[in-house]
């Protein structure tokens, strides 16, 4: 359905920290307005990969192109909404202070800023807690606030590292609904997860294990190709552990 140029093209990247190879020969494409899931256990290299997509880190070899631009490129960062694995929030400040701070970094003007703050806090269902200090937030609330910050400047590309960890199922469902709505409006989403059943909600999946991309396809195709009844089974199949 998408014949346009891919939003993200990763070709043959390799990344090592010291002598430890974290990513080896990874190539993948992310299409416009899809939700692309990176599925893999912790330590598989997911976070390193998304950091390479943003350009915070650089690959040792290989190339990453995002929105038609070769990464790393500073101006590209204003096109990306990034949510790190750890909640990077100023806990001594209120949620509003945090939102205002990041909104200013992305250059949102005052009226626009207030409007967006209201909108994103509604999306993550935290409107009543806007003036509360972040250190009074629960883990799940912090996660949602981080997501809200990533959405603030309406970026065409969202990169979310484990966005739904610690969020209760009801809210998780509403967040997924919101992500799908963003897709419909043309936003491309890349997210990482280690929760297998969540992976099924992605349009397409990349399975990562020990720094290698095992497979890249839609969940349905992955199930079919491996003759599995669950994503977990499919993962085991590609991981070389056949039951």
């Amino acid at each position: 359905m998408n014949q346009e140029a891919p939003v993200i093209t990763v070709s043959h990247i390799r990344k090592a920290f010291g002598s430890k190879v974290v990513l080896e020969d990874i190539s993948l494409k992310v299409r416009k307005a899809e939700t692309f899931g990176l599925l893999g256990p912790s330590g598989s290299g997911k976070t390193t990969l998304v950091r390479l997509l943003t350009g915070i880190d650089e690959a040792d070899s290989g190339e990453v192109h995002v929105l038609g631009v070769k990464v790393p490129k500073l101006s590209l960062l204003s096109q990306i909404g990034y949510m790190a694995q750890s909640d990077a929030l100023y806990s001594e400040l209120s949620a509003k202070d945090n939102l205002e701070f990041f909104a200013s970094l992305y250059g949102l003007r005052k009226e626009q800023r207030n409007k967006r703050i209201k909108e994103v806090m509604e999306i993550v269902n935290l409107e009543e807690h806007l003036r509360k200090k972040v250190n009074q937030y629960s883990g799940g609330m912090k996660r949602r606030l981080s997501l809200a910050i990533a959405l603030l400047h309406e970026p065409p590309l969202l990169i979310l590292d484990e966005p739904t960890v610690g969020i209760d199922p009801v809210l998780r469902m509403s967040i997924w609904r919101e992500l799908k709505a963003l897709n419909k409006r043309g936003t491309t989403i890349v997210l990482t997860t280690h929760v297998m059943d969540e992976a099924e909600k992605c349009d397409r999946l990349g399975m990562i294990r020990e720094g290698r991309l095992l497979a890249e396809d839609t969940p349905a195709n992955l199930l079919q190709a491996t003759g599995s009844s669950s994503i977990e089974e499919a993962f085991l199949y590609y991981g070389g552990v056949r039951s």
């Binding site: 915070i56 790393p72 929030l89 970094l105």
Partner: protein
């Protein structure tokens, strides 16, 4: 059992944290050796200028460890005294020795007076034969700066203002920049289009506003409440205090890049702060080994302390502190540039 397990765990943590371990053993040695060098140094040798007839005292004073400089005209000697080249100027007019002490450093004052007394005693002994030589041995003492009742705190005060400002700003700025990293907000900042130098400047501005008030408060408190001697202009004291904070701020944020946690930031105190305190001029540097003096000249606190002493005790103006001001600004700028480069570790662009 549980205590044993706990002990083992702590030992293991220590072994993994080689720096903390090194600091526990090396830092006290470092500080102690510095102290012994500073306090156990040779006794201070005063530089005494002699003009006119006073030249006759030359031999006696040299015998008592004073370094003698002779001036043919009194004006020359006065100029040298003002420039801090000599600690005292002795002249004889009408048979009475006149001593002008530079005055800003009680240690130097004492050393001059001591040498003079000893020299006088020698002359009294040898002067048995020539009775009139001892007639007017009681010298007339006056002070160029300061006064006889200048207390040690007056001498240390201006420097300690600088020291405390430097110490606290260094620590607070360093720790807060470090937290930016440990809480992940730095990474988050680097995922925005914010440039590296903007982060550094942002910190300087944010803390800068805070340090203006701090400088104001500390200067006011020291002068008005503690009553530390103040001969110069309050504006200059503010300026120097502020520049010292800036240097401390930029150095603190720079060094926080090399600390893994708050404790490691604290570990910089004995390495970065304490040596500076010893070498900034609180104690006379002239008695130290040359290499250690040179280390002193490479520290920002040295210039801060020099300027503060010039303003508060000597009451000097812009010309006397201009060099220190420029140097402190240079230190800050260098630290800032290095910090921008150090942030490359986290994001190359």
């Amino acid at each position: 059992m549980r205590i044993g397990a706990l002990t083992l765990r702590i030992l293991r943590q220590f072994i993994h944290d080689k720096r903390t371990m090194a600091l526990m053993f090396v830092a006290p040695l470092l500080v102690l050796s510095l102290m012994s060098l500073v306090f156990g140094g040779e006794t201070y040798k005063p530089n005494i200028g002699l003009t006119g007839q006073a030249a006759v005292l030359s031999k006696a004073l040299t015998k008592h460890d004073a370094q003698i400089v002779k001036y043919s005209a009194e004006e020359e000697g006065t100029l040298a005294l003002k420039n801090g080249e000599i600690d005292a100027l002795i002249s004889i007019s009408g048979g009475t020795p006149k001593v002008i002490l530079e005055g800003s450093n009680p240690t130097a004052n004492r050393a001059v007076m001591q040498a003079l007394e000893q020299a006088a005693r020698d002359q009294q002994i040898s002067g048995q034969a020539q009775a009139q030589a001892r007639v007017s041995i009681q010298p007339q003492v006056s002070y160029l700066y300061g006064s006889a009742d200048m207390k040690t705190i007056d001498r240390f005060g201006p420097i300690m203002i600088g020291v405390f400002v430097f110490f606290f700003v260094f620590l607070i700025a360093g720790v807060s920049f470090l937290r930016e990293r440990t809480t992940g907000t730095l990474e988050r900042l680097l995922a925005t289009p914010l440039k590296r130098w903007e982060i550094v400047i942002g910190y300087v501005c944010g803390f800068g506003i805070f340090t203006v008030f701090q400088a104001l408060l500390i200067s006011w408190f020291s002068i008005q409440v503690l009553g530390i001697m103040m001969a110069g202009s309050f504006g200059y004291v503010m300026l120097i205090t502020l520049l010292l904070s800036m240097t401390a701020l930029t150095l603190g944020t720079l060094l926080s890049a090399y600390a893994g946690n708050e404790l490691q930031m604290i570990q910089f105190i004995p390495l970065v702060i304490v040596p500076q305190i010893f070498l900034c001029g609180l104690f006379p540097l002239d008695t130290l080994p040359l290499w250690l003096q040179r280390v002193g000249y490479a520290t920002p606190l040295y210039y801060g302390a020099e300027a503060m002493t010039n303003i508060m005790i000597r009451g000097k103006g812009w010309n006397a502190v201009a060099t220190d001001v420029y140097l402190l600004i240079t230190f800050s700028l260098v630290f800032m540039v290095l910090n921008v480069l150090a942030l490359r570790k986290h994001r190359k662009m």
